[in-house]
């Protein structure tokens, strides 16, 4: 089919448009919504790569969990103010120059390589849940279990950080009740 390339062009343009608008918008919540647009475009690119499991996980984790987490932070803390003092013009120009030069250097490096495509991703089955599950639970079982410990640690850490004053306060009052 010819229009596969056009799907790729459309999705990548959408993703880059969303990424640029994340930087251009003044309110954090607009940045967040454009970021979600980019996430959905990237999920489409995963489907285009025949990595269906990753596409679903990407939508659940990024457009679901992480986006909601950002949204709750913005809304509950009432952070949705415009940036009071944007950085000076020359800082912005220098930053864009730095990023542009990084892109030129990287693109120059990649151009000198001749990447020969080994297989057609649409004819392989590696991105499907069955295959990835077999690999994940055989070869990568230990990292998978360690990831759960990492999650537990992150959860405890996030709760402890966000409630710090109250917990410390409770500890102090306990001490004064005991020893005071």
């Amino acid at each position: 089919m010819i229009f596969t390339k056009y799907i790729f062009y459309f999705l990548s343009t959408l993703a880059i448009y969303g990424a640029i608008m994340v930087l251009m918008s003044r309110k954090p919540i607009h940045s967040l919504l454009y970021l979600t647009l980019t996430f959905f475009a990237i999920a489409g690119l995963y489907i285009l790569l025949n990595a269906q499991f990753l596409a679903v996980v990407h939508i659940i984790v990024y457009a679901g969990a992480i986006m909601v987490l950002f949204l709750f932070t913005v809304m509950l803390l009432n952070l949705n103010k415009e940036e009071r003092s944007p950085k000076q013009g020359w800082v912005k120009i220098l930053a864009v120059l730095t990023g542009g030069m990084l892109m030129i250097v990287l693109a120059g490096i990649f151009r000198s390589y001749d990447l020969t495509v080994a297989v057609d991703p649409s004819s392989t089955q590696i991105g499907l849940v069955k295959n990835l599950g077999k690999v994940l639970y055989n070869e990568y079982l230990l990292p998978f279990e360690l990831a759960s410990i990492l999650f537990l640690t992150a959860m405890v850490g996030a709760v402890l950080l966000a409630k710090k004053e109250q917990i410390l306060h409770n500890l102090n009052t306990d001490k004064t009740e005991k020893y005071g």
């Binding site: 990424a19 994340v22 970021l35 990023g99 991105g127 992150a154």
Partner: protein, 109 residues
Amino acid sequence: MQTITQNIQVIPLNYYLYFCTALFCIGVIGVLIKRNALVILMSIELMINSINLLLAAFSAYSNDPSGQIFVFFIMVVAAAEVAIGLAIIVVIFRSTNSLDIDVLNKLRW
């Protein structure tokens, strides 16, 4: 899903390479020009996403599922990072009442 992907013609791997480079550089620019800590965290997410997509592309084009497993683990770490990062941002906002990262220069010198 199967019928969709059967019709897909091979897109050169170079296209993914350039696209992910562009996305990564937009993330770098975002970290450099923004002052709001929340938007800086979003730019870091953009960079992580471009790396994930590139890893998945190389994995799919070389028929090796390990790359996609690695993307899965990167997503795990990114989710944990966002949870901790947002908790830190909440604490910063409570103590300084702003999200401007230029306020946080106590450890600078």
